[in-house]
Amino acid sequence: MSFLIDVNNKQINAQKGEMLLEVLKRNGIKVPTLCYIKDKFPSGACRMCVVENLKTGKLITACSSPVEEGMNVLTHSPRVVESRKTIVELLLSNHPDDCLYCVRNKNCELQSLSEELQVRERKIRGKKNGYYMDHSGASIVRDPDKCILCGRCVRICDEVMGVSAIDFINRGSKSIIGTTFNAGLNTSSCVNCGQCILVCPTGALSEKSHFVGVIDALNNPIKTVVVQYAPAISVSLAEEFNMPAGKDINGIMNAALRKIGFDKVFDTTFSADLTIMEEASELIYRIQNSGTLPMITSCCPGWIKFAEEFYPEFIPNLSSCKSPQQMLGAVIKSYWSEKSGIKPENIYSVSIMPCTAKKFEAQREEMTREGISDVDAVLTTRELGQLIRMYGVDMNQIEPETADSPHGFRSSAGKLFGASGGVMEAAIRTAYNMITGDELIQFQIPAIRGLNGRKEIKINVNGIELGIAVVNGLANARLLLEEIKNGKNDVHFIEVMACPGGCINGGGQHIGADENSIKARMLSLYDIDERETLKVSHKNPEIIALYKEFLEKPLGHLSHELLHTHYVKRDVLK
């Protein structure tokens, strides 16, 4: 049912059941919010979105007030603006005020609100909190002094990720957000996904920077610095430079990385192809030899830690394949090191990831051989943006270049890894070929594409019916695993991505992206797959050469040593 409501003395159309905030947004009226998360139940905690209800004379929160027939509100009356301003002034009263030194300078909601509401003096002077920062996690740094207690991180961690590593502690002016016993992220069940960083309005949550190590290596003449970037980076980096969301700037990025001084520019998508060779072989092996099924993908380090903590009984189901980042890391410090005559200890291997959990993954004990890490530093998309700006590379003025051989050539199947369902689609393309010797006629599998949290299909390969499930957002993974524990037995292969939508929406991505930007990144990956001709991993000539010259065959002896790993049950505060 639709009806008219009065907003700022004009009539606009509203649907019954809608929240006022949504109606205002649709009509081009921007009401500021802090605790609001789109499509989630409103909490109404921050009061930023108050509007004046002329019927009752009260201020009501637009996010949590359903529209009513005959409603009459003012969204920017002097009283409303004054109230919002006071809220910001109160939030600033105990804020550290160190914007110039803050990781979120120029990209901070508190800063923007203060500017929009013309806060020009400190009216309310509160006692500063002086909390300790939490540097204990491998991927995420927390600075409770900058926290404004909006609670978005708590809700994302609980409702979307099903992890609940953090919650409010204490009450009133002593409230903080922290882990169990406030003991630090490293003792908690945090899976390092970084979704909390994406929703944090201030600098209270940020990634652990690997900047210094990378710059030191770039300036160290002994080190050969190689870089790899994940499939999702080329379609996400544009937004860091105010270019349209989803624009594929792979070539420009290659050129920029060389300008910064990286000696070799490799593409993680190459090793995504390699992952597919190993993973598809592993799936077939498990099916033919009554191995543990369903097999579950292992590309996502957030998911892996989640499984190790909450579902250790599923560890045998996890594919033993390392993630593409770690596969390429291992290949660089073995095959490429041999081939180029550079000792592994003189190679500094950097990866650019849309992900904060990759920082944790690179530091896992299993990802080191003879005391040398396969990957030395992991930068997020955001950190790459900073690095490019710091080195003064003008992204609008450089010519595209191609990545380096031998680990820079890729199929479009590998590129799909960036979006939920992509690993599965690429794996099916190759598994089909491995089983039947033929190629699929229709490569695209629309049923497992898109941003839905859970996608399931059945496919038939040579008379074998395979049940396929794709989940993203760990809360969805939890639901699926519980169903399997309760007897669901029609799935054989599961892809899990921790972040909603997959790596295109990873915790290391540009902050401030909305759903349309995420969609644009996804469509850009699909477009690459549509346009390019090399659509399957097993036909990548550099992959074929790598097996021929070095690895011999998927699941072979060297593969096991370099490309496969194992997992451990983790005892954390959960």
Binding site: V163, D167, F168, I169, N170, R171, T180, F181, S188, K574
Partner: protein
């Protein structure tokens, strides 16, 4: 698992998260405080994240996370006591035994609890040590009171 905690759980055969606060209260009743182990056990019992349990438990003043000291000092912060200076008394007490409200001194001798009103407003500001009331305490007298208890051991 601790048998006292086990006994508490047995009282709640169909427990859900709604029972969290009563369970916390029962455990504190039995053990005198809420230990980290108890929080982890409650998490398993109710299938609830420990961060949430810790969050709820720290929200309420009534829950303690350390065992009480040999002398448990309750400081009344009700209206009458407040008007007559209980804030200063509390501050002095925290200084004297080098312990914050809600905590227990390192030597295990003293613990402080802030209570809303003991119902002895005529004696304000009032404190209660192991059930013994001390009336009209001041910044000066609180030190002597504590000193006496310390010497009693």
């Amino acid at each position: 698992m601790n048998t006292q905690v086990q006994e508490v759980f047995e009282k709640y055969p169909q427990a859900s998260r709604d029972n969290l606060i009563p369970i916390l209260q029962d455990i504190q009743e039995k053990e005198g405080f809420i230990s980290q182990e108890s929080i982890i056990e409650i998490g398993r019992f109710l299938n609830l994240a420990t961060s949430k349990i810790f969050g709820v438990a720290t929200f309420y003043n009534q829950f303690r996370f350390q065992p009480v000291g040999k002398y448990h000092v309750q400081v009344c912060r009700g209206t009458a006591c407040h008007v007559l200076g209980s804030a200063t008394v509390l501050e002095e007490l925290e200084k004297t035994i080098k312990t914050k409200a809600g905590q227990t001194s390192k030597d295990g001798m003293f613990s402080i609890e802030v209570v809303a009103c003991i119902g002895a407003c005529g004696l304000a500001p009032v404190i209660c040590v192991n059930g013994n009331f001390h009336a009209k305490v001041s910044k000066e007298s609180i030190r002597k009171i504590i000193e006496n208890y310390r010497n009693q051991q």
